[in-house]
């Protein structure tokens, strides 16, 4: 299957979930990771400084047209949509989608179109339905969808929406997501 991109979406409770997830990933993660975390439009990069403490993977707030590199974590900047093109990233200030910018759907749908079955999407905690359509788009292209088990999520609505909209490949407790991803992305290469 050869995974080439991992996209993650998180909202309410996302920071502590991402902290756990990123700290569990192996140091030389073989695939680029792009994250849309809902955040206030004026929030600055302190979120990234915070998360950086917990992982040896380099986290970067995306600048337009950054190229996708394995083992890099790309974080959507506040108030921009993050989209995946083959080999690089694009930003836009198109209108918010379902009140969100960055929108998880926008990130996931663009990844699904650019990397099709080589895409892995991870839906984490959140108190809205963003990401459900995006996860379905990844499945429609033959990619893989992992959803955080709502019982381990601070916000249950987002994982539940994804589960009811599409057939997730895995519904995992938060702690199990990193090992599963590591195995999935390393094995397939």
């Amino acid at each position: 299957m050869n995974v080439q991109i991992v996209v993650m979406g998180a909202s309410l409770g996302g920071l502590s979930a991402l902290k756990v997830l990123l700290s569990g990933l192996q140091p030389k993660f073989p695939v680029p990771i792009a994250i849309a975390q809902h955040r206030h439009r004026d929030s600055r990069s302190d979120i990234i400084d915070f998360l950086q403490h917990y992982t040896s993977l380099e986290i970067r707030e995306v600048e337009d047209k950054d190229s996708l590199q394995p083992g890099q974590v790309y974080f959507a900047p506040a108030d921009y949509h993050l989209l995946i093109e083959p080999g690089y990233l694009t930003l836009s200030t198109d209108a918010p989608v379902s009140y969100a910018r960055p929108s998880i759907d926008v990130l996931f749908e663009s990844a699904a179109e650019s990397y099709r079955e080589h895409t892995v999407g991870v839906i984490l905690t959140g108190a809205n339905q963003d990401g459900a359509r995006g996860a379905a788009a990844i499945k429609a292209q033959g990619g893989t969808v992992i959803v955080q088990d709502p019982r381990t999520a601070e916000g249950t609505m987002m994982p539940k929406a994804a589960i009811s909209t599409t057939t997730a490949d895995q519904i995992l407790p938060l702690l199990d997501i990193a090992p599963y991803l590591s195995a999935l992305c390393s094995l397939s290469r």
């Binding site: 995306v62 394995p70 179109e113 650019s114």
Partner: protein
């Protein structure tokens, strides 16, 4: 197990991809507007939005309508670009401009400024206000350009919804504004009409970064949140255009999440203000 770089697998274009290429080619050949090197992922989303608004399910059908119905093309032009803007957008940029660029500009007897992709003009009026407060406005000529005539007409009018003024006032203050923001406009019904004196040295005109040449030499070029809509090839071309249009020691200002990385002349610039996208051409 290897950890080699993931070379993006060459994917077969989908039928929709092919239709979009044909649509853009048709628009270019018939109407002269070149969207062929816009960033595809976000452009595609907007084209799909337009199809939905037109009640169409296929890009080919949209192409048919756009090429045969001028009004449909006009509607397309309204929606195909992102025109979101604000006064003093990212106020720290304007604050840095006041602190780092204004002192440099004071040494010039005559200052030419180009706002490329000025949208409805808020960025230009913000600059005019800043320059008036710094006592430099009389020496300036500001060229405000955009490819979209409709937003340019709004820019020229200098009239904005009154309800936005509260937000704009906050941003003005964060940007280092020194007066009461309401001095700069007159409220009339639900509009804010900006003072005519702000417009005196502004020239509004249509200019397309994808197809038009340089038209002057500038001391300052601002192009913020425009390049993100272009693909790397077009970005490189536009950076070439900016480099050629800047005089030595000229200033280039980009959007908050943009960079010089794709400019063939990256090394010929220095960073003027840490954390802000303000650069100075050195050679």
């Amino acid at each position: 197990m290897t950890t080699s770089e993931p070379s993006p697998t060459k994917m077969q274009p989908t039928l929709e991809d092919i239709e979009i290429q044909l649509l853009l080619e048709g628009i270019y050949q018939y109407y002269g507007f070149d969207f062929r090197n816009y960033a595809m992922s976000s452009l595609k989303r907007r084209i799909r939005g337009i199809m939905q608004a037109e009640g169409l399910t296929r890009v080919s059908a949209l192409q048919d309508r756009i090429l045969h119905d001028r009004q449909c093309f006009d509607r397309f032009m309204v929606s195909v670009t992102v025109n979101v803007t604000s006064m003093f957008r990212d106020p720290s940029f304007f604050l840095a401009f006041r602190q780092k660029v204004v002192p440099l500009l004071r040494t010039y007897p005559y200052i030419r400024i180009w706002h490329a992709g000025c949208s409805a003009g808020q960025e230009v009026y913000s600059m005019a206000i800043l320059l008036q407060e710094e006592g430099l406005y009389n020496r300036c000529r500001i060229y405000a350009t955009d490819s979209n005539e409709l937003v340019l007409a709004k820019a020229q009018s200098g009239i904005y919804p009154l309800e936005l003024m509260q937000d704009y006032t906050q941003l003005y203050l964060k940007a280092g504004g020194r007066r009461s923001f309401s001095e700069y406009y007159t409220a009339a019904y639900d509009s804010a009409i900006f003072r005519a004196s702000l417009k005196e040295n502004i020239i509004f005109s249509q200019h397309n970064l994808a197809t038009d040449r340089s038209f002057n030499e500038f001391n300052v070029i601002l192009c913020r949140n425009v390049l993100i809509y272009f693909d790397p090839i077009l970005q490189r071309r536009v950076h070439q255009l900016f480099y050629e249009s800047l005089c030595t020691f000229g200033i280039l200002g980009l959007g908050r999440q943009e960079s010089l990385r794709l400019s063939p002349y990256e090394k010929q610039y220095e960073v003027l203000a840490k954390g802000e996208k303000l650069y100075r051409r050195l050679s």
